[in-house]
């Protein structure tokens, strides 16, 4: 059965440090062929005796549909908790169970409009492949990469190959402009006359990117990162409030309805302080005196 997604017993064939991150290459036959930029994979962690049952999700950095090993998928992993530490301590030839590709990819413009791609931290991982696809379609592409500090930037050199221009920001000024991507984004959009801003990174950044893009006449397409238990649409843990084409706000699963959303559709007003509330006007929101 193949409905655009596969579960395959993969194998790690390369693992290397990249600044604060680990860049992993996995053999995952079939997944590469189906994937598009913006989609993600869900990896099982911990092995046969694992107490960590839930899969970990990672944006697909790039794919190599065929080659010596069969199709491979690359991901960029920040080691944080138990699962990402396990993944980043794997050795070459260790098995990794892969489900993917998952989620909706970045929608591509039908016309060759200029685009700006904004990545925060490891959020830049899916953007290089996106840049290549956009340029193949004739879109001029610039990138804006930001992070807390230089070691948390991912892919600056690669960006210079994949894009027509690159702007770098760091919170501490250790590389590029001191400050946030949103500080420089408006100028880039204006200079390029960009029609679309693609962004991937922390929620706060996605919100500012959306605001800046709107203010400068561009559409924001943002890839969100919500806590996911299943990644495949069956658990309802990964929801966020999104206004639909009909104007109605629903709690939408970001793993199947996203992770890419139009920024101006996301109800940023409900998101903050590590919590996403249900807006009072959302479909089926609890109303005073009981549901």
């Amino acid at each position: 059965m193949n409905a655009g997604v596969l579960q395959v017993g993969g194998e790690l064939i390369a693992s290397r440090r990249a600044g604060a991150y680990h860049h992993l290459t996995l053999v995952a036959p079939g997944v590469a062929e189906l994937a598009a930029p913006g989609q993600f994979v869900a990896l099982a962690v911990g092995g046969a005796t694992s107490a960590t049952l839930l899969r970990r999700c990672f944006s697909i950095h790039r794919v190599t549909p065929s080659g010596t090993y069969g199709g491979t998928v690359d991901v960029v992993v920040a080691a944080r908790g138990a699962g990402t530490r396990w993944l980043t301590s794997l050795r070459v030839h260790d098995p990794v169970d892969v489900v993917g590709p998952l989620g909706r990819p970045f929608p591509l413009p039908t016309e060759p409009v200029p685009c700006v791609l904004v990545g925060g931290g490891y959020g830049s991982a899916p953007l290089f492949w996106l840049a290549e696809v956009l340029r193949e379609r004739g879109c001029p592409v610039e990138m804006v990469l930001g992070a807390a500090s230089e070691d948390r930037l991912f892919g600056v050199l690669q960006a210079r190959r994949s894009a027509d221009g690159v702007t770098v920001t760091t919170d501490d000024g250790s590389a590029g402009h001191r400050g946030w991507v949103s500080d420089v984004l408006g100028d880039v959009v204006d200079r390029l006359g960009a029609g679309v801003v693609y962004a991937c990174g922390p929620m706060g950044m996605l919100r500012s990117v959306t605001e800046v893009a709107s203010a400068h006449g561009a559409v924001a397409q943002v890839a969100v990162e919500e806590s996911m238990a299943c990644g495949i649409g069956v658990c309802m843990t990964c929801v966020l409030p999104v206004r639909g084409g009909d104007g109605v706000t629903r709690m939408v699963r970001s793993c199947v309805g996203g992770p890419v959303f139009r920024g101006d559709r996301v109800r940023w007003d409900a998101i903050g302080d590590g919590v996403t509330r249900v807006p009072e006007d959302a479909l089926g929101a609890p109303h005073p005196g009981g549901h």
């Binding site: 579960q7 049952l53 658990c235 309802m236 843990t237 929801v239 919590v275 509330r277």
Partner: protein, 319 residues
């Protein structure tokens, strides 16, 4: 080949493996990994009368060999369910157990009434009354914590479901004496019992020093709770075998990840088994568990799956 059929209060299912409510959505997503019609039955996400947004996020926390969830019964409401979800399942040829709930006992009845009127009702092989959801902010009360409320809900549901379709009452393990609640549900006409729903739990975020779930409490599920599920099934089955409770099939759920896990629940007394949280680890888990359970039955040399149901009560060592 072992005969894997199982009988659920009159309805014969081709095999005893089901999804668990809320762990498989309404089928379209899992159908990408295996044909959901191959399962003994597909159990839908609990549906209520009105559309529900569910709770704020974070709605989940991973725990050792399990997870905590607080979805808050997000769903489209019974009308949308009958219009979109049930017909799709019928089209696949799935046998469907519809999980229903209400904020009040009467609302359970309304949901069932609309369900029974659905054009796709024909694919329904059971109605599971989720009287045990600890997530609904119903003044903290859970129906299945109290025999009287359990009885009321089951009576209303049983009255509205046509006689030939079994009603399952889904119990919570968070009670002092599950046999009493089981008795109340059976007394009110439940044809079968589904055991168990999640255990109430809390996880604290040790960075933020506050509950990790926006809704504070959540339901604990996964392999971590399997011994509790097996115990609940065992106790109720033992009460049936000793004549304390009327005999009725038990559908086991809680921590099943493999065929041997499923066999634990079956040997303790379950006539069918639901696979929940394990699906998040492995999207093909329900289908795989069926294959593995079949292999286990063959390994034990039984001809019929039914011969394994409750077998541990007979093989128990008496001191």
């Amino acid at each position: 080949m072992v005969d894997m059929r199982t009988v659920l209060a009159g309805t014969t299912l081709p095999n005893p493996v089901m999804t668990a409510s809320g762990c498989a959505a309404n089928g379209t997503e899992l159908n990408r990994f295996f044909p959901v019609a191959e399962l003994g039955a597909f159990v839908t996400k609990t549906v209520m009368r009105d559309p529900r947004s569910g709770r704020p996020t974070p709605r989940m926390a991973e725990t050792p060999s399990g997870m905590l969830n607080s979805i808050g019964l997000q769903g489209p409401g019974i009308d949308a369910f009958c219009e979109h979800d049930l017909p799709w399942l019928e089209q696949q040829g799935a046998r469907v157990v519809v999980s229903v709930a209400g904020n009040t006992a009467e609302e359970f009845g309304e949901v069932v009434q609309r369900l029974v009127g659905s054009p796709a009702w024909g694919c329904v092989v059971g109605v599971e009354a989720n009287i045990s959801c600890p997530n609904v902010a119903n003044r903290g009360l859970v129906f299945a914590c109290d025999p009287v409320s359990s009885e009321r809900v089951v009576r209303i549901v049983r009255a509205r479901v046509p006689a030939e379709v079994p009603v399952l009452a889904k119990l919570t393990p968070d009670v002092t004496d599950i046999v009493t609640i089981a008795g109340a549900a059976l007394g009110a006409g439940a044809d079968a019992l589904t055991m168990v729903n999640t255990l109430l739990g809390i996880v604290i975020d040790t960075d933020l020093l506050r509950p990790r779930l926006a809704g504070v409490t959540g339901g604990l599920s996964g392999p971590a709770i399997r011994p509790v599920a097996v115990r609940a099934i065992w106790q109720v089955t033992a009460a049936m075998r000793s004549g304390t409770l009327p005999t009725a099939p038990v559908v086991g759920v809680g921590g099943v990840r493999t065929g041997t896990d499923a066999l634990e629940l079956v040997a303790a007394g379950a006539s069918a088994v639901q696979v929940g949280t394990a699906t998040f680890n492995d999207p093909s888990a329900p289908r795989r568990v069926l294959t593995e359970l079949e292999a286990e039955a063959a390994r034990h040399g039984v001809e019929r799956f039914a011969d394994l149901v409750g077998i541990a009560h007979e093989r128990m060592v008496r001191p």
